[in-house]
Amino acid sequence: MRYNRHIILSEIGQKGQDKISNAKVLVIGAGGLGCPVLQYLAAAGVGKIGIIDFDVVELSNLQRQVLFGTSSLGKNKALAAKERMEDLNNGINIHAYPEALTYQNAIELFQQYDIIVDGSDNFETRYLVNDACILAGKPLVFGAIYKFEGQVSVFNFNDGPSYRCLFPNPPKKDAVPNCSEIGVLGVLPGIIGSMQANEVLKLILGLGDVLSGELLCYNALKSEISTLKINKNEAVIQTVSKEKDSFRDNKILIECASDVQIISISEITFNESIQFIDVREPHEQPKVEGLSIDSIPLNQLKNNLDKIDRTKKKVIFCQSGKRSKSAAQILSELDFKNCFSLIVGANTLNNYLKEQQTTISNEG
């Protein structure tokens, strides 16, 4: 019933729908590309879907990351995506990994899936994903965007070329904008991500021409596709394969979500999905009221790391904004993500919360 519109297609049928139900697909990143990939794979009934993303939902994501909403702000993206997808399709298994993809966890994770989809937003992760796909022997559905243009391809499929056959090495630092420094037309990842989901379904179904050995280049301003042929570069793939044993020794060097970030009060969404941390000494006044707060003085921070919630966005404050910045710095160096230092002190925060309370009472 749910999949009727697939089943009545002679090219798919019940047999094809069963293939979809039995498929296991891992999506790297629940961002601009990941959202449409995830929603269409979930809707199509892919039986097991993995989502790995360490990042939390920010207001500026909502311009294009359509699985989220105001209610997801501050939540981990993998967890928030899973929540929305479970409403879309309650008959599939969704696994959320609220952590960073690393050289240490990639291969083992990839081995649990049939197809890997790259929706990441930086070169370092893209090369890590490509190389781990070579080592784990998994096909990779690649998508990437820049302003008004996008690229789609299928790598490492049926002895075909890999991403390194197209671009052998990551670009020189600063030669190509990385991460979220650049703008993007919001609907562009919708088009490119949906095209990635289409390639995934074609791979699962063994249907049509898969973009293996081809790079699709889409231009949203011209509504045009150019498709370029890519040849396999055996030497480049061999180099990756040879370094299999030392693969886990590599370390991700650049990360896109800058770890020490400053946040203003107006940017905070006050809800349960944020952990508020007061790094002042216990005697310092005023106490902040009306929020659930974990009190961890700065000099006790390293002894209390178990109190830090890795799945949540963390907003740290102190008396002036100085100690909170140090605390955010320390946590980020210890590999905690999404630590924000509040730009103002506890006094201002307290006044703000009181005002909000008054407004709500008056409205009530």
């Binding site: 601009g32 990441s120 243009e149 190509v176 990842p189 150019s226």
Partner: protein, 77 residues
């Protein structure tokens, strides 16, 4: 011979155009790149691959095609 050159992504920002027609003499693609590098400031600092007639080639490939494309990597997601 007359060729069409197409520029993608960041490369189109350097050249300030998405395509152009050029009259060039026969030779390797590297020779065409020399011409483009002297024509467009900043192009040599960019990373890109080259396609000839919709097929990825190297700088050492002989220029035979009607269409050359300069293709940078994208990282956005």
């Amino acid at each position: 011979m007359q060729i069409t050159i197409k520029y993608f992504g960041q490369i189109a920002e350097v050249t300030q155009k998405e395509a152009e027609q050029l009259e060039v003499s026969k030779g390797k693609i590297s020779e065409l790149l020399n011409i483009l590098n002297s024509k467009y400031d900043g192009l040599k600092h960019k990373d890109f691959q080259i396609a000839q007639n919709q097929e990825l080639v190297t700088k050492e490939t002989v220029l035979t095609g009607q269409e050359i494309a300069l293709l940078p990597p994208f990282s956005g997601g």
